[in-house]
């Protein structure tokens, strides 16, 4: 497939590109230059600019919208938050509108599990739990982006998959840190995007069939964030923080 990846300059975007490079033709999109390598192409632009977004979506079969914040944010805290909100909401709307108009039928969005931190650790969290996002703009805006995506699934014959991602790290870089139940290795996040890309649900007559929502976390012993539904699309995390949760502890 021809696949557009937004937020391509981010660690998540790069991980997804690495995951998909062998099997797909990639178009990378971000507001700062990204080296596409020999096989991919790159378009530089802002998600809130309909003209460049239109160029980015033309001819692609799928859009992987990482949900990552813009790489260059204003200095001031107010302007920074305003930018995050605009990028996540209007930027997502511009992207999905253009994608629909261009005939794209598969969309994947990177949402966040941060919307469940208000729940205590003695609850197993699944997709059926009510999100309790905080007003912290980084996570709140990402959640609002998810809601925007959902409306596009409601209104259009497209398949939209939202992946609520854990806290993105690399397994090897957190060995010295206190363990975090929400950790998710970037490579497994990328794998989740790859699996979600295979979902072809745009033809469902029910909007709830077109919309998919999956929690993406690590496979650790007695996990708080359960990932059974994500396994149904083939998600199988490989980097499960064995330094903190040795495999033997599960036995």
């Amino acid at each position: 497939m021809n696949v557009l990846i937004t937020g391509a300059a981010s660690r998540l975007g790069r991980a997804i590109a690495a995951e998909l490079a062998t099997d797909h033709r990639l178009r990378l999109f971000d507001s700062i230059p990204v080296d596409p390598g020999e096989k991919a192409e790159f378009i530089q632009g802002d998600l809130t600019d309909p003209k460049t977004v239109w160029q980015a979506v033309r001819g692609v079969d799928a859009i992987l919208h990482t949900g990552e914040p813009p790489p260059e944010l204003p200095e001031g805290s107010l302007e920074r938050e305003q930018c995050l909100l605009d990028h996540a909401t209007r930027g997502t709307h511009v992207l999905f509108s253009a994608g629909v108009e261009a005939g794209v039928r598969r969309f994947v969005y990177g949402s966040t599990l941060e919307i469940f931190t208000a729940y205590p650790d003695d609850i197993y969290i699944t997709e059926t739990w009510k999100p309790l996002p905080s007003p912290e703009m980084l996570s709140m805006s990402r959640y609002l982006g998810e809601l925007t995506c959902r409306e596009f699934a409601r209104d259009n014959m497209i398949g939209v998959t939202a992946l609520r991602l854990g806290r993105l790290v690399l397994e090897e870089e957190v060995e010295d840190r206190e363990p975090d139940l929400m950790w998710l290795d970037l490579r497994d996040a990328a794998q989740a995007f790859s699996r979600a890309l295979q979902r072809d649900t745009g033809g469902s007559v029910r909007w709830t069939g077109r919309w998919g929502l999956f929690h993406i976390g690590a496979d650790i012993p007695n996990a708080k964030y359960l990932i059974s539904p994500a396994r149904s699309m083939g998600y199988a995390p490989q980097h499960n923080f064995a330094h903190h949760w040795p495999i033997e502890a599960a036995k």
Partner: protein, 238 residues
């Protein structure tokens, strides 16, 4: 002492018809980006500017946000969503414990052919108006729950003047709120001490006769009741 209320959108499609019904009970501070159609003095406040909203909110006990841009690909986001964030952020900054917001109903899209529909989760769709107001609702809900800001959120379809005489050959309007009923709802919302979960969305309209949509929540939580049986004006007479 009357509660001080910042009324944003005082010059718009709703403000000029609602504020007269609140003047007796509240110390209203009218604000908008444009002049009042009747020449009533209003402060210039652009909700897309946090600084302006912050300054206008200083000293207020409550904020009523009736600003809206319906169909613009940029302004709808800036006024409806970003504006809502500015209002809630200013409320937090000033310790304001009451904010009223408003938006379009979205329950009719999903339940247009059903009956006895109470408050059901709406389907805003991707239109600029509905989508950005949906986002504003969620922003309000998040702030209300986090900071304990009592936030009644009114949603309506049509608004307008109540009938003054019998209306021949027309059905009772559905999901339409008449000005005196909206004034009453705003008054009740400003007066009530607290609402469940700090945030509630209220379907608001003046006529329940069809049995299609219900006012149960507004009635039970706010004590709202249409000023009169407006159906009397739409009777089929011989």
């Amino acid at each position: 002492m009357k509660k001080k209320v910042l009324f944003l959108g005082a010059s718009g499609l709703i403000g000029p018809f609602v504020t007269p019904g609140l003047e007796a009970d509240f110390d209203l501070h009218l604000a908008d980006i444009k002049p009042h159609p009747d020449g009533t003095p209003v402060d210039t406040v652009d909700v897309t500017s946090y600084e302006q909203v912050y300054e206008a909110s200083r000293g207020m006990d409550a904020i009523a946000n009736f600003t809206v841009v319906r169909g613009d690909p940029v302004l709808s986001f800036q006024v409806n969503s970003l504006g809502a964030w500015h209002v809630m952020k200013a409320a937090v900054a000033h310790g304001i414990r009451k904010v009223i917001h408003s938006g379009p109903q979205s329950v009719r899209n999903a339940y247009a052919h059903d009956f006895d529909v109470a408050e059901a989760p709406g389907a805003s769709g991707t239109g600029y108006y509905g989508c950005t107001k949906m986002l504003s609702r969620e922003i309000c809900r998040i702030f209300a729950r986090t900071y304990g800001i009592q936030t009644p959120y009114f949603v309506f379809a049509g608004l307008g003047a109540s009938p003054m005489e019998a209306v021949k050959g027309q059905d009772i309007p559905i999901f339409r709120v008449f000005w005196e009923d909206l004034q009453q709802a705003c008054r009740l919302a400003l007066e009530i001490e607290s609402i469940p979960d700090d945030f509630q969305e209220f379907n608001l309209f003046s006529c329940e006769h069809h049995g299609k949509f219900r006012l149960d929540k507004a009635r039970e939580i706010l004590g709202f009741a249409p000023a009169r049986d407006w159906g009397e004006y739409f009777k089929r007479l011989p």
